[in-house]
Symmetry: C2
Subunit: 178 residues, 2 copies
């Protein structure tokens, strides 16, 4: 496990962008963290160390920012990588899940041959906010009747209570909390 001071360093390296993408949102920009080699290593190692004992077989990551640290995490854990993408992006047969946004709807897709029943899955995204996107991804993962799913985020916006939407039965961990 990394120290409290390392977590503080990661947290301080995340840039806050007011009113992005829309007015009133305080956007958490991880690019200022992951462009620093040591911080990228710490973030990925922290997540990988936490799940080492769980024998993860697939990291399922959400497009697009989730792909960056999700790819590194799959590599580090010796797991396979499975993308969850926006509609029409995955080229083969998919399962699709539509979910509600504050205004309107969005959807996510996963390849129908992406997971097997004996997989142990780690869902990954950069940010847990209201939990809507993560819940849609967990719904897709649920179609495969897999053994177990865990959820890993770099950042969790505690005041939006997304974690409560995801648990039980999902184990949720985040490195940095706002």
């Amino acid at each position: 496990m990394i120290s409290e001071s390392a977590i503080k360093t990661i947290k301080e390296s995340i840039r806050n962008i007011p009113d992005f993408p829309v007015k009133g949102i305080q956007f958490k920009d991880i690019t200022t963290a992951i462009q620093q080699p040591l911080l990228l290593q710490m973030i990925v190692d922290q997540m990988a160390d936490h799940y080492r004992k769980n024998r993860i077989t697939k990291v399922v990551a959400i497009e697009s920012r989730g792909f960056i640290t999700g790819g590194a995490l799959a590599y580090r854990l010796g797991a396979g990588f499975v993308p969850v993408r926006k509609p029409g992006k995955l080229p083969s047969q998919t399962y699709s899940k539509t979910y509600d946004l504050e205004y309107g709807q969005d959807a996510l897709e996963i390849h129908q041959d992406a997971l097997q029943p004996d997989d142990v899955v780690l869902l990954h995204d950069d940010l847990l906010a209201t939990g809507g996107t993560a819940m849609a991804a967990l719904d897709l993962i649920g179609r495969f009747n897999i053994r177990q799913a865990y959820c890993s985020f770099i950042i969790e916006l505690d005041f939006l209570k997304g974690r409560q939407k995801l648990s039980p039965p999902f184990d949720v961990t985040s490195i940095v909390h706002f």
Copy 2:
């Protein structure tokens, strides 16, 4: 370096999807490769081993598929990760490059604080086709007057001759050729 038989295994694991995203295109689907733990390891290790001696300080990867193996590659090389994204996705000040597609135009952006003059950059994407996207990304990287840039792809479509568009002066490597 991995063996010829390992490269053959990677190549055979890439799924061909006819007429995606439009009629006449033979889409190369890497999801069937990277969902296999051993193949993901081989792909990332092959790229990392090739560039180990070049002391890469930043991996610059192109949204979205380039983020997956680009993130793992940055982690493996001990480099920072820098995303090149579609317009409007990066939250801070960006440089932008518009480029021509077969029909119409597209654009890519990079954060203005993403690179420093002493960086040694490895540009990464999953696929080198005509080279238009990679050239746009290299144009963005060029704004920073960095020391050196290399280009790494998982797949190269040799018959489209994208490599010729990129070199000289760029060093280009791909694991699998079609």
